[in-house]
Amino acid sequence: MNPFTEPIGVTHYLCVGAVLMVCGMLCMFTKRNALGVLMGIELVLNAANVNLVAFGSSWLRADAARSIALDGQLLAMFVIVLAAAEAAVALAIVLCYYNTQATVDVDKASKLKG
């Protein structure tokens, strides 16, 4: 079966979302640079957005009437806004951290433990 002749469904998008999610998570796990972790967060949020858009799209499934319609896009829009806000705050915190610790290494942030 030739994949290029088959129409695209929700599942395809969900797979992309899953991959993005996992990449974002991996990013958060492995990056010692705080900014790297932030980038991972952006990927994770994007994964959710991909899902939402896919579920809201009327082109990707046969019974489009049961999709979440514009709700998907609207929620995704708010997620983008929130992600921007989150990035701003997180970045400010990272800068603050950098100011006091002179590093952006998250592994150095282990004074508080136990």
Partner: protein, 622 residues
Amino acid sequence: MSLPDLVQNALHDALHRSLPAIRPELALCTTIVCLLLAQMILPRWRSGPYWVTLVGAAAALAVLEPWQWLDVPAAERLEIFTGMLVVDGLSVFLRSLLLVFLLLFVLLVWITAVPPRDDAGELFVLVVGATLGMCMMASANHLVMVVLGMEMASLPCYVLAGILRFRKPSTEAALKFALFGAGAAGIMLYGLSLLAGVLGSLHLPTLATQLALLMHSGPTAEQSLLLTLGSLMLAVGLAFKLSAVPFHFWAPDVFEGAPAEVGALLSVASKTAALGLLVRLVLAVTAPAVMAPAATADIGPAADSFPQQTTADADVAGQGSGAPAAIVNSNAARPTAILPDALAPVRRFIVGLLSLLAVVTCTFGNLAAYGQSNMKRLLAYSTIAHAGYLIMPVAAAVALTGGIAPDAPASGGVAVGNASPGQTAEADGPALGHSGDVQTIGERLAPRRIAGAAPASAAQMAVASVLFYLAVYLFMNLAAFSITAVLRNAIGSERIDDYAGLVRRWPSLVVCTALAMFSLVGLPPLAGFLAKFYIFSAVVKAELWLLLAVGGLNTVLSLFYYLRVVRAMVLPPAPNDQSLPETAARRIGRLYCIGVTIPLVALFFWSETLMQWAARAAAGTF
């Protein structure tokens, strides 16, 4: 209907119906603006931010008019902003708690002067912003509002954790909080997208009805897989806010790094909102008949389209003892009342999940608190443990919404155990099989009319016990944290060992500490006891014996480390080199501590009003 008409209708609805219902939130928004303006126009008015916030919070509380709800028999359920928010007893109760806490928080920060006064403006913008978000969480009726509310509550808190921005621990705490929170938010969003995709809506009541219909017609394995995963990921986000194990890791570090005042905010307000949201979400999906938007097909979810249980007050007043007739009536008025039967697996799932979380959280929090030497860290673990206690009655409420349907093993264990096996199987048969024909539904409806009465009000009492616990918890934890803050200012330490000999210098404060700690344990002459009593009785009603056992055991476990704090203050001799000259600030600090401790005793003796209010608030939720 033409487009301009639609717009006109929407605007009319927003301006005349919805806006008046969110007056407290509007007052908070105004407070934010006033704070910014005050800083801009009157930069030298150094106590300006305190006054503005105090007035703003008081105004918000005033326009919320919680005292009205003390008398209103049953809360009227009002969906506003075309279903985005819902105003009912629960939301009013939670918002009043949040605003009361805001008021007390402003006073505390004023007294303990953390952070420096120059930063007070920003601090209060953030705190008010966070409170606004929490209010949204408390009355969210739509997944967008869930997400938005949680983010609005979280983001300012990240900054607040780092409010002492030139101190290493503080920035470290903020960084950990922000990264962990963002990760949890990501997971939650992902799960939420899955849920929405399967159920086809973001509007909670619609979603719940969809779920009930889906369960009724029997979901495919794929659908239930997606539902399970989605709800679990959503639960992760909530568990993060609740600091439930294993998603609690941020809590101890953040509490230790952030000032004690912020700790109070995180442990009280944040948890209040999160718990409110949890209650809302689980009740929305397990008792959808209440919300039943499918009952009427008209556009625009006006409040009057919902059959209201105006008789619910009688039921609350009777407190489980009476008024089955009232319930029968209100049940009969709801065409979708059949749906809860189909939801038994969902209930089982949620009860199991919440029980698991509660057991693990409670035990872990109490055990890990044992070896702590830092007061704030100890309180952080105590907060975690209390999250566990608080989840228990929610599980109980979910179990109880199912009534005594014999197919719910969580609640019907004894009934099944006593009836002979053959009969039970016969009775259970049609309930378990999801055959959708109308006759079975009618048959199943009939016994529910008789049997469903008491459990419905028992579930309300379970929710009421959560609310009562939250109200008591506000004072207990605020007292504990403000004592920590006052002591930090006085003796410059947050180590428990450094509290030695305080009893001879500041006996009043030690008494307050003892009261707060004993109340946190749940010892009798204090409100904490009643709170625990109520939640445990809810658990007993739901017959979740494991939860009861774990809760009881943990209460015993927790006694030790709470007592250790008091012991550290009382028994060891005071170091001789320290003198504590009395200053006005210290005296006021102590007075504040005494002030927030008094309710712990008072609420024990005058718990009736609060409990009644909580019961009414809970009744409005069903």
